[in-house]
């Protein structure tokens, strides 16, 4: 294992109090060793995508080099190996999320596809004319548009629970919007633009009291905290592999078996059937009913490695480390004159969205980039959130396990540089 980070080196000095040895972690991410524009890379765009540890890259290479074959159909050795490894990741994902059964884990391309799958299958079956779908004002476009499309098709209404000036959900308002016509509630676990952590257990309980099933967008939560779908009791939970140190193009949809069983398939094709004639097709059992065609096998293997990696570091260790770093960053960045933080929820994950004076975030991003600092600028695919705060865009720094106080210091210095350049 590559995780010297956790074991042998833990005794070495770290620059934070938690038990994570960040320098050892950093050594495991090849890309962090490179320079950008002649400066050491300071990667603070983790909410967009995280970097990948050697352990994940090796797992993907090993699959292609040693066992590449199609799954679920070959009688030959390689196919059996690939099938076993692919299905093994399903089991590990089940344990990672604490799902009841491995058949409740569906591999999809990412969070966006997970949400679309539910909107197009469960949604189209259960949402009718005059019904309502409830979301929140802090959703990412991918948890808005699929529901808008569904509502437009069915003549249903999209209701939006509001947030306050700190970027926290007004949970009473959310409760009040759960009505007799609400057919599903879909909300994010952690806001990508604001960092706010939603009280998903409580929200799920409120929805269930009104017999409303719940989908949670976990894209920004899974990399940063332990997630237990049975403790939350949500009906659907979806996340992307690439934000949790895995490859792009792979993600997970968890769904309660009884709901998934009753849902029609999403896409038709091979693997999702048990028998086909021109008159009639019998669909395969879970989870294969929702996995038409040859899946992203290498992606699944890479995802498995990524989940092993974070499990090995420890989700609680990661959460504690990132929380400390966020506190440091919040203090440091908000101390810079004319910086306004957008999103100051009491419960927050490692996202710092900010605006600087009347300087456009795009200009901030370009100048930071010259210093080797990668942040996201723009509306973060959350235009309604930007509208809510009256800004066209923000600059966003988002944290991961390999970020350090030095990264934050570089960011703070970079922001000062922005002012020097733009005067």
């Amino acid at each position: 294992m590559t995780l010297a980070a956790k074991a042998g080196l833990a005794a070495q000095a770290t620059n934070l109090n938690s038990e994570l040895d960040v320098q050892a972690i950093r050594a495991e991410f090849p890309i962090l060793q490179r320079t950008v524009r002649g400066k050491p890379l300071v990667y603070l765009d983790n909410a967009a995508t995280s970097q990948k540890p050697r352990f994940v890259l090796d797992a993907i290479a090993r699959y292609y080099e040693e066992e590449n074959a199609n799954i679920h159909r070959g009688v030959h050795y390689l196919s059996e190996r690939a099938t076993a490894d692919y299905e093994n990741v399903r089991g590990r994902t089940q344990r990672f999320l604490n799902a009841a059964k491995s058949s409740e884990i569906i591999f999809v391309r990412g969070t966006t596809e997970g949400i679309n799958l539910v909107a197009q299958t469960y949604g189209r079956t259960h949402v009718g004319s005059g019904d309502e779908v409830l979301i929140t004002a802090m959703e990412h476009h991918s948890n808005i548009v699929p529901w808008q499309m569904l509502c437009a098709e069915k003549g249903a209404k999209l209701r939006v629970a509001p947030i306050n000036d700190r970027g926290e959900l007004l949970i009473e308002e959310f409760g009040a919007l759960l009505g007799p016509r609400t057919k599903i509630a879909a909300f994010t676990h952690v806001s990508n633009a604001l960092g706010s952590i939603n009280a998903v257990r409580r929200m799920t309980e409120m929805a269930h009291r009104r017999h409303v099933p719940v989908l949670i967008d976990g894209a920004q939560a899974v990399p940063h905290m332990a997630v237990d779908v049975r403790a939350i009791d949500c009906d659907f939970y979806t996340f992307s592999g690439h934000k949790v140190y895995g490859p792009t193009g792979i993600g997970v949809l968890y769904g309660k078996a009884e709901l998934l069983e009753a849902m029609p398939p999403y896409q038709g094709g091979g693997d999702m059937i048990s028998s086909v004639t021109f008159e009639k097709t019998t669909y395969n059992k879970l989870p294969y009913k929702f996995e038409a065609g040859t899946p992203d096998i290498a992606g699944v293997i890479g995802l498995g490695a990524a989940l092993d990696y974070v499990t090995d570091v420890g989700m609680d260790t990661i959460a504690a480390y990132e929380h400390e770093l966020l506190e440091y960053a919040t203090e440091k960045i908000s101390a810079i004159p004319d910086v306004r933080l957008i999103g100051t929820a009491a419960e927050k994950a490692g996202v710092l969205s900010f605006v600087l004076d009347d300087i456009h975030p795009h200009d901030v991003g370009t100048i930071l980039d010259q210093e080797g600092i990668a942040i996201r600028t723009g509306h973060h695919c959350s235009q309604p959130v930007m509208d809510r705060f009256g800004v066209p865009a923000t600059a966003r720094a988002s944290l991961a396990i390999y970020n350090t106080r030095e990264d934050i210091d570089a960011l703070a210095k970079g922001i000062e540089r922005v002012r020097e350049v733009l005067g």
Binding site: H379, P392, L422
Partner: protein, 150 residues
């Protein structure tokens, strides 16, 4: 750092802080909205065209230093020009900010707009520099829908 100074030249910064013709044009007979969906920049360009001549032009909206300065300087330079001259100018400007192989005559034709030469080194910012121009073109063509830089 020299590169950044090439991009954010004094003239550009000055225009971005105090944009010219930054208002609604009461007697506009053409207008269009332009939108850069990637960064949220949004401008409306107003035109008063008589015959073939741009009698007056203005703009409103929000954007980064590059897009705002570009819009501001565009309004200054095209005022009084013919529609044909304006279109030709956009063509030269577009070439100027997207390629390295510029000619002396390009720079001469662009005059003050040549301060945007640094943009070519920053491909991500080309859309910022050209947003106002795309919007201007849409206004001349009376496009009803907002144009985007995508």
């Amino acid at each position: 750092m020299a590169e950044l100074r090439d991009l954010y030249q004094e003239v550009i910064l000055e225009h971005s802080k105090a944009p010219r013709n930054f208002k609604k044009l009461a007697n506009a007979n053409h207008r269009a909205e332009g939108f850069n969906p990637l960064c949220g920049d949004r401008f409306t360009v107003y035109l008063d065209v008589e015959g073939d001549k741009v009698r007056d032009v203005s703009f409103e909206g929000s954007g980064c230093a590059i897009s705002k300065a570009s819009a501001s300087m565009m309004t200054q330079i095209i005022k009084g020009k013919t529609v044909t001259e304006t279109e030709r100018l956009f063509e030269t400007f577009h070439k100027f900010v997207t390629t390295q192989n510029r000619t002396e005559s390009d720079s001469a034709e662009l005059g003050k707009l040549a301060v945007f030469s640094g943009v070519a080194e920053f491909p991500a910012r080309v859309k910022c520099a050209t947003l106002a121009w795309h919007t201007l073109q849409a206004a001349l063509e009376d496009k009803q829908e907002a144009v985007t830089t995508e």
